[in-house]
Amino acid sequence: MFEPKIICFVCKWCTYAGADLAGTSRLTYSPNGVNIRFMCSSRLDPEHILWAFDRGADGVFVGGCHPGDCHYQDGNYKTLRRIELFQRVLKQFGLEDGRLRLEWISAAEGKRFAELMNEFAQQIRALGPLKLGSRKGGQDGGSAKREKED
């Protein structure tokens, strides 16, 4: 069975703490997602999402504080605007809807974090592996280029 690779960009104050709570509450959830902790979801540059897809991630999950609860006042609103716009760009790149998902998870919502992880993994599983093959040079060419960059 296909096990997707998912990168989760999460903020330190809400979603990461929510993930922490899911862990300390000993909830079992999909291990496909790996958290990368930012101070605030507004640190997330759309470029980071592109890197993740380019490197072979099948889905990208972005987690921030609920609107109005941002530790940095309005960082999550900045994220919301950026992600909304970026979804459209991704579509133009030929990516399916649903590969990138933005959710608000508070520090108290460990259970919700676990549920969303399961749900998102299932969503990506249904979409199948990310294929950027239509690009000239194919997967390998891309990798070679990446090695250079790195």
């Binding site: 930012f38 101070m39 980071h48 993740a52």
Partner: protein, 588 residues
């Protein structure tokens, strides 16, 4: 220098002063009626008459107009007393209903008058001293009232006995009148509105110059500019003339004071839910529906009723008082979802004090839950509910409406599932605590985060309860959430210690993740300044680039993403580090 002897006391007087002024300085009492410090003496009432002796010649003069010069003055000689008695007898005839004149006459042993009162005179209290007319014209600058007619038909009235447009119902005439003869309502059709005391929750009036509340810091009077006649028309200035040390300064203005500080403690307190918001209880509509703060003033010995419980509408002692807890609190559908925390205890206290003041009175308390979270609070609640036998009715009040001179309270007792109807004399609402008015504006200037109820958010609900997320800002009191006095004191002490802790450090410590600008790459476009929530960035005019104040930067990283030239990075969380993390996760 000339010597003046007043009642045997020798003095060297200032020749610009009058005998009355000098006598008062010496502590000698001379009765006056038409005298007011802010007006030039007029000598109309003649009651201040004194005997002056100069070179053996004795004469009678009014002390308020007679200059204090050489000679001797007797304020209480037989001659003086005899004359004052005659004057008082005349005044008794002129103003037969004036209590002040009757009292003064009784002091001098004048019980009856041999003179005949004027039959035509309408105002039976007025002594025709003209003080009101002079105040209105000379001091306030209006001239809305004057004397009409002559001789036996003379009266004080607005021109042509009609309501005058000039009159502002400032009340100066009524204030200075020595016999209480002025009825403002008869002088003007404008609404006479006393200035209500904010501290007494509008249960009493206050003067225009007032000390906001007894414990005010600094404890000095202020002029209410909104109501002051001087600031409206340039008249009056009475407070200036009566202030001995000349402390009244009309030129004082609100000013912006700039200070460089290392820390800010935000303690803006709370307000109660606005009046109009509690429609079903008739709060703001019926005068006998008051809030807990107003009841507190009614119970206070220094309050508007000197501690006697009297209801606002007619001053009667209420025999049945209904206390409604959670008026607006714990009501997420309509008002505030939060618990106001202090109401359970103060309502219990109010009910107890009410029972002790009004022995035949009956309090009722409607409650949802009684929350007695605090040291000895539960015991106090038991004392009130069991020992004192105050009935606690578990349920909410649905409606309050007037029924005769009573207030009908409809509620429900959810423990017996029965409807409750109480004909109450007074309803006291434990209104919800909300963040103080206009505090949201201040919070947005300070960029402090608030919770959904508008109270300030702390940095961590358990571990950093007195600090704000933004470094250098500390929280105290109910600006952060409803809390009672001991908790507020504890929290304020905590905030103060945190400030001292901050100041006692040699160096300030900070999270390692902060924004940094590559000076070679920065184009000075200032986009980052607009996204920074903390004002941590400022434009360096000299170099044409943006600089980061690392102490203010909280490390959110919004600026890094916003920077179009890639000049901004976060120390210890650079784009490259993020790329490496992604790489590490995805392998290869």
């Amino acid at each position: 220098m000339d010597k003046l002897i007043i009642d045997g006391i020798e003095t060297t007087p200032d020749p610009n002063k009058t005998v009355l002024e000098v006598a008062r300085e010496l502590g000698i009492h001379i009765p006056t009626l038409c005298y007011h410090k802010s007006l030039t003496p007029y000598g109309a009432c003649r009651i201040c008459v004194v005997e002056t002796i100069w070179k053996g010649r004795s004469r009678l003069h009014t002390a308020c107009t007679y200059p204090a010069w050489e000679g001797e003055v007797k304020t209480n000689s037989e001659k003086v007393i005899r004359l004052r008695k005659s004057i008082l007898a005349l005044m008794l005839a002129e103003a037969p209903e004036a209590e002040e004149i009757k009292e003064l006459a009784a002091e001098y042993g004048v019980e009856k008058t041999r003179f005949r009162p004027r039959k035509e005179k309408r105002n039976k209290k007025c002594i025709m001293c003209g003080l009101c007319v002079r105040v209105c014209h000379d001091v306030m600058g209006f001239g809305a009232i004057g004397f009409e007619n002559r001789g036996y038909r003379r009266e004080v009235t607005p021109p042509f006995e009609t309501y005058s447009d000039v009159c502002t119902t400032c009340g100066a005439c009524a204030f200075v009148c020595p016999t209480g003869a002025i009825d403002l309502k008869a002088l003007s059709d404008k609404k006479v509105r006393p200035i209500l005391s904010e501290f007494d929750r509008n249960l009493a009036s206050r003067p225009c110059v007032h000390i906001p509340f007894p414990q005010a810091v600094p404890n000095i009077p202020v002029i209410d500019k909104e109501h002051c006649v001087y600031f409206k028309t340039g008249g009056c200035r009475v407070c200036e003339t009566v202030c001995g040390p000349q402390a009244v300064d009309y030129q004082q203005k609100d000013q912006i004071v700039e200070e460089d500080v290392g820390a800010v403690v935000v303690a803006t307190g709370f307000d109660t839910l606005p009046l109009a918001d509690l429609g079903e209880y008739g709060y703001g509509k019926y005068p006998d529906v008051i809030d807990g703060l107003a009841f507190e003033r009614l119970l206070s010995a220094s309050g508007p009723t000197s501690g006697e419980v009297k209801r606002p509408s007619d001053g009667k002692v209420p025999k049945e008082v209904v206390f409604v807890q959670c008026a607006g609190s714990r009501d997420p559908e309509k008002y505030c979802p939060h618990c106001s925390k202090i109401c359970c205890m103060y309502t219990a206290k109010h009910a107890l004090l009410y029972k002790h003041r009004v022995h035949d009175g009956q309090p009722y308390i409607f409650y949802i839950d009684v929350r007695t979270g605090g040291k000895s609070y539960e015991e106090f609640y038991h004392r009130v509910s069991e020992q004192e036998g105050v009935p606690y009715i578990r349920g909410k009040v649905s409606k309050v409406f007037p029924d005769g001179d009573k207030l009908m309270v409809w509620g429900v007792d959810t423990l017996t599932a029965k409807k409750v109807e109480i004909a109450a004399d007074l309803v006291v609402l434990a209104t919800a605590m909300v963040p103080s008015q206009d505090s949201q504006k201040l919070f947005s200037i300070l960029k402090l985060a608030t919770d959904k109820d508008g109270f300030l958010s702390e940095a961590h609900p358990k571990l950093r309860p007195v600090e704000s997320i933004i470094s250098g800002f500390f929280l105290a009191g109910s600006a952060q959430g409803p809390r009672d006095i001991p908790e507020t004191v504890a929290q304020a002490s905590g905030a103060a210690s945190k400030v001292i802790g901050l100041f006692s450090q040699e160096k300030l410590h900070h999270e390692p993740i902060v924004a940094v600008v590559d000076e070679d790459l920065c184009s000075g476009c200032k986009v980052c300044i607009s996204v920074c929530p903390y004002d941590a960035r400022e434009f360096d005019e000299e170099k044409g680039i943006v600089k980061v104040n690392e102490l203010l930067c909280e490390g959110c990283g919004a600026c890094v993403v916003a920077c179009p030239s890639g000049a901004t990075q976060q120390k210890n969380l650079t784009d490259d580090q993020i790329r490496q993390m992604v790489k590490a996760v995805l392998g290869e």
